[in-house]
C-alpha cells in the first residue's frame, strides 16, 4: 500500500470564529500504480485532502503514511525533500510561470537537486520530446497555447521522475478535447508505473477507463453511497 490515511482531519483557523473543518476523520488506503479520483462539489475538502497527501498541509490530527513513511509532524525541510523525491504536482491552472521559458519551467523542480545545467537540459529535453513541445523550448510560457501549457505542466510534474502524481482539478479550465488528451496522458503514466491521485467533478475524468477508484467526498468526509 503506497498511501494510508488514518483518521485524518484538517481544520482551518482552529479556535477562531471563522474555524472551518475541511477534512474530518478520513481513513483511506490507495494502492500502488492505481489512478484514484477524489470527486465532490466545490468546498467538499478534496483539494485539502490532496494537499495533505502531497505534504503541502500538515493534518490537524490523524496519521499519513506514504511509501512507508509517516509524514505528519515532520519539519518543513523534510517535507520539501519528500515532495522533491516522491511527488509530481499538476495544478488547477497549471501554475506555469509565464515569464519563464518552457524549458525553464520544466526544470524548476530540478534546481534544488544540485544537477548540472546539462543534466537538467537533458531531462527536460526528453520530456519535451515525449510531449511534442520541444519546438517551444525557448518560448515564454505566457505565449503558448492552453494545450501546450498543459503538457508543460505534466512535463514539470514528471521531470524528477516521482512515483506519485497529484493533480488538482486538472481539466477545470480545458475543453473536452484537451481534457481527453490529458486523461490519455495520465493513463500512459499509469501504465508506466506511476500512482496517480486527482481531484475532479468532471465526468470526463471520473468516467475515464484508466481511473481505478472514485472516492466521493462531502462536507470533508468520504461519502459512501
Amino acid at each position: 500500500m503506497l498511501i494510508e490515511l488514518d483518521r485524518v482531519s484538517k481544520t482551518y483557523n482552529q479556535g477562531l470564529p471563522n474555524e472551518v473543518a475541511a477534512v474530518r476523520e478520513v481513513t483511506l488506503a490507495i494502492a500502488d500504480n492505481a489512478m484514484t479520483c477524489l470527486r465532490g462539489a466545490s468546498g467538499c475538502g478534496k483539494s485539502t485532502l490532496l494537499a495533505i497527501i502531497g505534504c503541502v498541509f500538515q493534518p490537524t490530527s490523524g496519521r499519513v503514511t506514504v511509501a512507508g513513511k509517516q509524514l505528519a509532524r515532520l519539519p518543513d525541510r523534510f517535507l520539501a525533500l519528500h515532495r522533491r523525491q516522491y511527488i509530481g504536482f499538476i495544478f488547477q491552472r497549471f501554475n506555469v510561470l509565464p515569464a519563464l521559458t518552457v524549458q525553464e519551467n520544466i526544470v524548476l523542480p530540478l534546481i534544488p537537486l544540485g544537477l548540472t545545467p546539462q543534466q537538467m537540459r537533458e531531462r527536460a529535453g526528453i520530456l519535451m520530446e515525449r510531449f511534442g513541445i520541444v519546438h517551444r523550448r525557448a518560448f515564454p510560457a505566457g505565449q503558448i497555447s492552453g494545450g501546450e501549457l498543459q503538457r508543460v505542466a505534466i512535463a514539470r510534474a514528471l521531470v524528477n521522475d516521482p512515483p506519485l502524481i497529484l493533480a488538482d482539478e486538472p481539466t477545470a479550465h480545458l475543453d473536452s478535447r484537451l481534457s481527453n488528451e490529458f486523461m490519455d496522458c495520465l493513463a500512459e503514466l499509469k501504465a508506466a508505473g506511476k500512482t496517480i491521485i486527482l481531484t475532479s467533478h468532471d465526468p470526463l475524468v471520473t468516467g475515464h477507463r484508466a481511473v481505478d477508484q472514485v472516492i466521493d467526498m462531502q462536507d470533508g468526509r468520504i461519502h459512501v453511497s
Partner: protein
C-alpha cells in the same frame, strides 16, 4: 563539483534570471541606491582628499605659532618677546610675521596678506618650489608681492598687472607681481598675498617693533609640546599653537562639514532602506504565486531565502561598485564639482586645488557597512515572511 555547491550555483542562476525578469523594477532600485552611495562616497573621498592636501601643505608650517591675546582678541606681539624666548633650550629659530585680512570691495573677496623674512625661516628657500611661476622676491626688495591662484584670477578679471591695495587711511599702495603660488598649494595659498614684512606693516599700519605673531621653529620634533608648554608659562598672555593643533583644526573643519553632509545623506540612505524594507515585505500576487509554486515543487524555505539574499547582494553590490566608481570619477576627474561649494569654500575666493584622494579600504568598508549591509538586512529579514507564504496559494487556483 559538490552537489550542494551546484545547488547554490543553480539558485544563483535562477536569481539572475529573476532579476532580469523584473529588470525595470530592479534597475530603478539599483540606480537610486547607486545614487545615494555616490553621494556618501563622494563626501568621504572629498573629505579625505582635503585632509591629505592640508596635511601635505602643513608640512612646512612652523612647529609653533605664538599669538598674543588681550580680552580674548588677537593683538600684535612685541618683538621683545623674541628675546625672552631665546632662553628656552631647543628653539631653533624665531621669525616674526606680520599678517592680516584685506577685504577687496571691488571683487568682494577677502585676501590674507602676509609679510615675513623668509631668510630666517628654516626651509624658507624651498618656498621658491611652491611657485608656479616667477620667484620669491629678494629679501631686501620692497614693493613686490607673491600671490595665490585665486588672487591672480581676481587681478586678471580686473585687467591689471599691479596689485593695488589701500591702507586704513585709504591711501593706495601698489605692488609688482613677482610670483604666483602653484595650484598644488591652493588650499593654503589661494587667497594669499606675500609681501616684504615692512610692506605688510605699512599696509596694516602696524607699529614697528610689533608683529602679528611669532613663528617658532624647534630643533627636535619630539620636544614641541614641552617647548610649547614652557612658552605658555613664560608668556601667559600668549596663545601657543602647535602644528598638530592646526592640523587638527583643519580636520575638524572638514570633518564637521563632511559630517553635516553625511548626516543629511544618511537620512536619505535610511529613507531608501525603509523603502527597500517596504518593497521586500509587500509581495505582489505574482510573487506570492511563484513562491508557493516553488515550495510545492520541493523548494525549501531556505532556498527561497537564498534567492532573496542573492537578489539583495547583487543589487546592493552592483550599486556599491557603481556608486563608488562614479564618486571616484566625480572627485578625481571632475574635482567634486557638485560638493566643492559646500566643502571647500571659505570666502568668495575658493581654492582651485586638485583633489586626489588615496582610496583607502577602510573608507570603502565603512560605506559598504553603512549601505550594503542595511540593504541586505532590509530585504532578507522581511523575505523570511515572504518565504513563509503558504504553499496552498498555488493549489487554490490563484
Amino acid at each position: 563539483m559538490d552537489s550542494g555547491l551546484r545547488k547554490h550555483l543553480n539558485i544563483l542562476d535562477y536569481t539572475l534570471l529573476s532579476l532580469w525578469r523584473r529588470r525595470l523594477k530592479n534597475l530603478s532600485i539599483l540606480l537610486v541606491f547607486a545614487g545615494v552611495i555616490f553621494l556618501v562616497a563622494s563626501f568621504e573621498l572629498v573629505t579625505q582628499a582635503l585632509t591629505e592636501t592640508a596635511d601635505r601643505a602643513l608640512r612646512n608650517v612652523p612647529e609653533i605659532t605664538l599669538q598674543r591675546l588681550s580680552a580674548g582678541r588677537q593683538e600684535t606681539v612685541p618683538l621683545t618677546y623674541m628675546e625672552r624666548l631665546r632662553g628656552i633650550f631647543g628653539i631653533r629659530e624665531i621669525v616674526p610675521r606680520v599678517w592680516g585680512y584685506y577685504f577687496d570691495e571691488v571683487s568682494g573677496a577677502n585676501y590674507t596678506v602676509m609679510g615675513m623674512d623668509r631668510r630666517r625661516m628654516p626651509g624658507g628657500k624651498e618656498m621658491d618650489l611652491a611657485l608656479a611661476r616667477g620667484d620669491m622676491p629678494d629679501p631686501e626688495e620692497r614693493g613686490a608681492a607673491v600671490i595665490g591662484q585665486g588672487v591672480e584670477t581676481v587681478l586678471r578679471q580686473k585687467g591689471g598687472s599691479l596689485l593695488s591695495l589701500f591702507r586704513p587711511d585709504l591711501s593706495q599702495v601698489s605692488f609688482e607681481i613677482a610670483g604666483v603660488f602653484a595650484p598644488a598649494t591652493d588650499i593654503l595659498t589661494s587667497d594669499l598675498i606675500v609681501l616684504h614684512p615692512e610692506d605688510a606693516r605699512d599696509l596694516f599700519r602696524i607699529p614697528s617693533g610689533m608683529a602679528t605673531d611669532l613663528l617658532v621653529y624647534v630643533a627636535n620634533a619630539d620636544e614641541v609640546s614641552t617647548i610649547a608648554r614652557k612658552i605658555a608659562t613664560l608668556l601667559p598672555d600668549t596663545r601657543v599653537l602647535t602644528r598638530t593643533q592646526i592640523r587638527k583644526t583643519y580636520q575638524v573643519v572638514f570633518g564637521w562639514r563632511s559630517g553635516f553632509a553625511s548626516v543629511c545623506l544618511l537620512t536619505a540612505l535610511t529613507a531608501f532602506v525603509i523603502f527597500a524594507w517596504d518593497k521586500a515585505s509587500g509581495l505582489s500576487p505574482e510573487e506570492r504565486r511563484e513562491i508557493s509554486v516553488l515550495k510545492i515543487l520541493g523548494w525549501e524555505t531556505a532556498d527561497i531565502l537564498a534567492i532573496r539574499f542573492w537578489e539583495g547582494l547583487l543589487v546592493a553590490g552592483l550599486a556599491f561598485v557603481l556608486g563608488c566608481t562614479a564618486a571616484y570619477v566625480h572627485v578625481v576627474f571632475y574635482d567634486a564639482s557638485l560638493f566643492r561649494p559646500v566643502l571647500v569654500g571659505w570666502s568668495v575666493i575658493r581654492p582651485d586645488l586638485r583633489l586626489l584622494p588615496t582610496p583607502e579600504l577602510a573608507n570603502f568598508l565603512l560605506i559598504f557597512c553603512g549601505s550594503v549591509l542595511p540593504y541586505l538586512a532590509a530585504t532578507v529579514i522581511p523575505a523570511w515572511r515572504s518565504a513563509s507564504v503558504p504553499a496552498e496559494t498555488a493549489l487554490s487556483g490563484m
